[in-house]
């Protein structure tokens, strides 16, 4: 389940920001490792909400530091 979300998120991050799919790993920080700026993060969240039917409020987004944080949040709230 988590692997599926991770794979799907990697595709989204690649689409939005051009980061190679294989670089999108659970331990990577969106900002520090993947160079995702705040506008691109909005796009990632939007696409994730659409794909998994979750709602990720802005108040949660700031807690999603790593890819793994996002995967866990999506898995728990799907």
């Amino acid at each position: 389940m988590s692997q599926e979300i991770l794979d799907g998120l990697a595709v989204i991050v690649n689409e939005v920001a051009g980061v190679p799919v294989e670089d999108v790993q659970s331990d990577k920080s969106f900002v520090d490792d993947l160079d995702i700026d705040s506008l691109s993060m909005v796009e990632v969240v939007m696409a994730a909400e659409d794909k998994w039917g979750v709602k990720i409020p802005d108040s949660e987004v700031k807690n999603l530091k790593t890819v793994g944080d996002a995967v866990a949040y999506i898995a728990a709230n799907q």
Binding site: V16, A17, G18, S38, L39, V42, E43, M46
Partner: protein, 410 residues
């Protein structure tokens, strides 16, 4: 004594080519870039034709880069990279480097697309890039970021004169000492049902839908309006002493600009062409030249019944009997009308005409309107004289904006 300004780089993407040389060769060959618009929405539009960019800028740019930009911004970035590369990517203090890129209508298609999204899927699905895609200073900002300009980033807005006004403002930045190098020009990509309907409502567009390549026909008796085009033209201007110090190749000398306003009507040209005539004379004065130095005019010549005559009247008012010794061309006959990009691509074409001593023909000029008392290049390219020569580029915009630029041979 103002600082002399020279042109060291040119770039463009147009309906007739994805870069400067392919666009220029298409013009010399008389090839039109006007096509039937391939979209379902044209079915109930009065005008179904346009000059669509020959090379999709989104295919030229990196995929991620392209998706964050409006199509007009994409075109500007493609043209800017070509111009900057030709100039040799000048090593210049960023605080002495400016960017002036204009658009007549901004990111209107991105705005309309976002509005569709708003209606279909609600406010939460609006792209975070929408605002920077639609703002009229967006193309200037994108190009400014590309080259790292910190002397100032500006976007002049004067409808179809915007691109020419941008070039004049860029030159002024150098002349007045604010910058040593300025990348400048114009861009437009607003082929969309809303703009096509709007211009059609003004009865401004050609409806020669059954023969797209012959629809834009400046000065011809059969002309029935302009054809919308899209694309971008960019020039690198720099202080002559700066270019000389770094050993740059000078393509042309920027002469001067004349900017006036008609004070006549929001959309119709002054039939006496007084504002346009003053702009041309001011530009020649600003260049320190006399009327006799002008050998060529890349005219605004949009192919509207009224506008082409008004410009002819204005040229004769400005140049008097010397008008008969000037070879005029209307390149919109092949590119269509790029609105805010027009003055920029036509500045590039004017410079290329001076470089190659060749004036591209005005396509589709079969039966010249007797009210057009100009020597118009038609059929095949016309040669320009050797020696030091100068040319005018005219651009006029809805709102009554008149901008004339003068360039001199290198």
């Amino acid at each position: 004594m103002t600082r002399e300004v020279v042109v060291t780089g040119l770039g463009m993407t147009t309906p007739v080519g994805g870069d400067v040389e392919s666009s220029w060769q298409a013009l010399l060959a008389g090839n039109s870039g006007i096509r039937l618009i391939d979209a379902p929405w044209v079915a109930d539009q009065p005008a179904k034709i346009a000059g669509i960019m020959a090379v999709d800028p989104a295919e030229v740019l990196d995929r991620v880069e392209a998706r964050r930009l409006d199509r007009g911004q994409q075109a500007a970035l493609v043209a800017a990279r070509e111009a900057w590369a030709q100039a040799g990517s000048p090593q210049v203090d960023p605080e002495r480097l400016g960017a002036v890129i204009s658009t007549g209508m901004g990111g209107l298609v991105s705005l309309m697309d976002a509005y569709d999204t708003l209606l279909d899927r609600g406010p939460s699905r609006i792209s975070p890039h929408m605002v920077t895609q639609i703002m009229p200073n967006g193309p200037a900002a994108i190009v400014g970021l590309e080259v790292g300009a910190r002397a100032g980033v500006h976007g002049q807005v004067s409808a179809c004169a915007s691109g020419a006004e941008a070039v004049s403002y860029a030159a002024r930045m150098i002349q007045t000492g604010r910058a040593d190098v300025v990348i400048c020009g114009g861009t437009e990509a607003v082929i969309h049902p809303i703009t096509m309907a709007g211009f059609a409502a003004m009865r401004a567009l050609s409806t020669r839908n059954d023969d797209p390549t012959s629809a834009s026909r400046p000065y011809d008796l059969g002309r029935d309006g302009f054809v919308m085009g899209e694309g971008s033209g960019v020039l690198v201007l720099e202080a002559a002493e700066f270019a000389a110090a770094r050993g740059a190749t000078v393509l042309a000398v920027y002469g001067g600009a004349g900017l006036t306003s008609d004070g006549h009507h929001i959309a119709q040209p002054d039939p006496e062409g007084l504002g346009a005539a003053r702009a041309m004379r001011f530009a020649i004065d600003d260049a320190g030249l006399s009327i006799d130095d002008i050998v060529h005019i890349n005219a605004h010549a949009t192919s509207t019944p009224q506008g082409d005559i008004a410009e002819s009247v204005a040229i004769r008012a400005a140049l008097g009997s010397h008008t008969d010794d000037v070879i005029v061309t209307g390149t919109k006959s092949m590119t269509g009308h790029l609105l805010g990009g027009a003055g920029a691509i036509e500045s590039v074409f004017t410079i290329l005409a001076l470089r190659d001593r060749l004036v591209p023909p005005t396509a589709n000029l079969v039966d010249q309107d007797p009210e057009i008392t100009l020597d118009v290049a038609a059929g095949s390219p016309r040669e320009l004289p050797s020696g030091d020569i100068a040319a005018l580029n005219n651009s006029f915009g809805f709102g009554g904006h008149d901008v004339a630029l003068v360039f001199r041979s290198a």
